[in-house]
Symmetry: C2
Subunit: 116 residues, 2 copies
DNA sequence: GGCCTAACCTAGGCAGTCTATGTAGTCCTT
DNA sequence: AAGGACTACATAGACTGCCTAGGTTAGGCC
């Protein structure tokens, strides 16, 4: 069903991952996706085929770092953490998301309060 | 320069066109793109290679209808207009854009007023 | 007529997500 | 300790939507 196609998530997955790591501290991949699904009330379901490539891109850019750790159930998992550069990127991407959304609100003739 | 890739416009072009037609009444293709650029303060520049296929998709779905008319400078142009079905689609897509944006605000830990 | 411009059109490319499938490590049961 | 189940990680290829880069056509103007 592609939960994502329907909406304006396209192009914002890396931003959501960075923000999730900021909010929660180190998380492994599946936990990041769970966080996004939960906090969006199930609206955004990130598939593994989207998630892992995005994490690898972020790591390639130096925005996250990872290490093997154990989950609470004792399974090993890659725990990702924000780097300094990652925090900068997060700040920047937040700014441009806000600018774009402001433009969308203007185009759609909506006041911010109407997005409640 | 891609203005669009960077942001959360991806997937919302048809919505923006429908809304533009609602706000302005019949417009030809270039005027739709001009409207979007102007109202977004130049942030969203719709390229012709995006615009015309989108208009054709909308027409194929019966959301817009067109007829040849003359511009103010006397050139002929296809003036597009919302159909009944187009108005329904607009309403529906507005609703899901708002729902998605609400989810994004939650994920990004932002209050609507912060998008000012 | 010849030139310029506005408006329209489209094939092919690219980026980001999804589908489908596979692998490795850990626990649990017997 | 072997087998099975489950969790987390991984990736190739498909698909979608926008862009790039080329065009065509019609009208105004000299």
């Amino acid at each position: 069903m592609g939960g994502v196609r329907a909406g304006n998530l396209y192009g914002t997955l890396e931003l959501l991952i960075l923000k999730g790591l900021e909010l929660h501290g180190p998380l492994h991949g599946v936990a990041v996706a769970d966080h996004i699904a939960a906090r969006s009330n199930g609206l955004f379901k990130i598939e593994e085929g989207s998630l892992y490539p995005a994490l690898h891109r972020l790591q390639g850019k130096g925005h996250v770092a990872w290490e093997w750790m154990k989950t609470e159930e004792g399974k090993r998992a890659k725990y990702y953490e924000l780097t300094k550069a990652g925090r900068r990127a997060l700040k920047k991407e937040m700014g441009s998301w806000i600018a774009n959304t402001r433009a969308m609100l203007s185009l759609l003739d909506l006041a911010p309060e109407e997005v409640q």
